[in-house]
């Protein structure tokens, strides 16, 4: 008991009862009401980035992340085999665009677009997300290349759309100047060309990469040289046939 406080016995009995009864009523009332749940169809139209910025009260980075949490709360509910399938991807894209514009340095919207929303089992919806990723990549290639690399992989393996995958891979190889971009990402276009049986184009591109002098790592150069030799062998055998 603190100084300045009377013992609990000083509290009248009816007040104990009133406190217990009102607390029980409050807990019972709240327990009976169902917890809030968002449905896919409920995703409202996206606000403009300017409106999000204004609402952030000078904290766009926090507002963008809060908005992402808000958006990702929309789906058909836990346990659904195909979440996001019924989500309005037009609205979703507008939300991700507004969030990305609010905090362009955040990778959250592109990560969610590439790893969550683009992996939906619906080609039309997946393409909406892939195009959004490509559009965002063109604005900041050195920062956003991981999302485009994943988009190219999805286009190739999930959608089986090799021309689309090649377009993404070509932009990735052509526009990304970040020296930290790994070899597999830079070479992606070559592999896709090989899959498309465009061996001559792949050989020219690989030769160009080797001749450009940008590849300083000896292991990398050796690996690419081996790929080039293999391509030339395949081309020669095709010509003989």
């Amino acid at each position: 008991m603190r100084a300045g406080e009377r013992p609990l016995a000083a509290v009248p009995g009816w007040l104990w009862a009133a406190l217990a009864a009102s607390l029980a009523a409050q807990v019972a009332l709240r327990s009976l009401s169902a917890p809030p749940a968002a449905a896919a169809a409920d995703l409202p139209p996206a606000p403009r980035a300017a409106a999000l910025r204004a609402a952030s009260l000078g904290e766009p980075a926090s507002a963008a992340r809060l908005a992402m949490l808000y958006v990702q709360a929309f789906d058909l509910g836990a346990g659904n085999a195909l979440p996001y399938r019924r989500l309005d991807y037009g609205r979703l894209r507008a939300w991700l665009r507004a969030i990305l514009d609010t905090d362009p340095r955040s990778s959250y919207p592109l990560f969610a677009a590439a790893r969550v929303y683009a992996e939906v089992d619906d080609p039309a919806r997946a393409r909406v997300m892939l195009e959004f990723i490509h559009e965002a990549y063109l604005e900041a290639p050195n920062r956003r290349w991981p999302a485009l690399a994943h988009a190219a992989l999805l286009a190739k393996h999930r959608l089986r759309d090799l021309p689309l995958a090649r377009r993404y891979a070509a932009d990735l190889q052509r526009l990304t100047a970040d020296p930290d971009v790994p070899l597999w990402a830079k070479q992606m276009e070559i592999f896709i060309l090989e899959d498309m049986n465009e061996l001559e184009a792949a050989r020219i591109m690989l030769g160009g990469m080797l001749a450009s002098g940008h590849l300083r790592d000896p292991g990398e150069r050796r690996f690419l040289k081996e790929r080039l030799d293999e391509l030339e062998r395949r081309l020669a055998s095709e010509r003989q046939r």
Binding site: A3, G4, E5, R6, P7, L8, A10, V11, P12, L15, W16, A18, L19, A21, S22, L23, A25, Q26, V27, L29, R30, S31, S33, P35, P36, A37, A38, L69, Y70, Q72, A73, D75, G77, A78, P83, A112, V116
Partner: protein, 254 residues
């Protein structure tokens, strides 16, 4: 006259003679002026725009004015030893506390009426009446919460800060629960604990997001069940705050 009603009358009189009416007038002027300005900027739905903006501003403004007034009034009475003087009269602690609460409820009612009146410019009288009634009950709850915090914390700043935190949390707890149940959240034990904590906090808070909604003014009156549930939950929570406040007040060694 009953002691409770006498105290309520003196509390109302105190509010009338303080700067509260002028601040309320200033709030009305600011809401009307800003709504008119923003309606000029909007390209469509200018009427709805004014109603929504004014309703949101007046609701938050009335809540802040009432909380600040209650906190300042209770702490001043305690500092000036008016409380000791009142309790030296043939007046029980419960009567004193309930008298103050009734007085602040009357102040909240007057504020709610003043805020609802200009809404008639943009919305149907029936919708405005329900919105105003809901605001009055919301202010009653807030008055009880501020009275509880001011008596317990005995400091204006602490009481206002605690009330503001409580009010903001009560208005956003549903959104926080929604975030905690997001489908991308992994089922790790920390996530389960966090969600359980949010749900536990939600059990002890009123759903202020369901009361005094501006969409009642824009899209018509709520269904009777919806309005009843919103107001009923406010009344139950006010009863809880009153019981907790009385409990704490009865334990104070004055």
């Amino acid at each position: 006259m009953l002691p409770v009603l006498l105290l309520a009358r003196s509390t109302l009189l105190e509010a009338r003679r303080s700067g509260l009416p002028w601040l309320a007038l200033g709030l009305l002027a600011a809401a009307l002026g800003l709504a008119a300005f923003l309606s000029q900027v909007a390209v469509t739905e200018s009427r709805e725009f004014q109603a929504a903006f004014a309703a949101a501003l007046l609701r938050a403004g009335a809540a802040f004015l009432l909380a600040a007034h209650v906190a300042a009034s209770v702490v001043r009475e305690a500092n000036d030893k008016v409380l000791e003087l009142a309790l030296a009269l043939p007046l029980s602690r419960s009567q004193y506390w309930l008298g103050k609460l009734c007085g602040y409820a009357a102040v909240g009612l007057a504020l709610a009426a003043a805020c609802a009146l200009p809404m008639l410019l943009w919305a149907a009288p029936g919708s405005v009446a329900l919105w105003g009634a809901s605001l009055a009950f919301e202010l009653l709850l807030l008055g009880a919460a501020t009275l509880f915090f001011a008596v317990t914390l005995a400091s204006v700043v602490s009481a206002i800060a605690a009330t503001a935190g409580f009010y903001l949390l009560a208005r956003s707890i549903a959104a926080i629960q929604l975030l905690a149940r997001g489908p991308l959240a992994e089922e790790t034990w920390t996530q389960v604990v966090a969600r359980g904590a949010v749900d536990a906090v939600a059990l002890l808070l009123p759903r202020l997001d369901q009361a005094t909604r501006s969409d009642w003014l824009l899209y018509g009156s709520p269904a009777a069940a919806e309005f009843g549930a919103a107001v009923g939950s406010l009344l139950v929570y006010t009863a809880l705050l009153a019981a907790a406040g009385l409990f704490d007040f009865n334990r104070r060694n004055l």
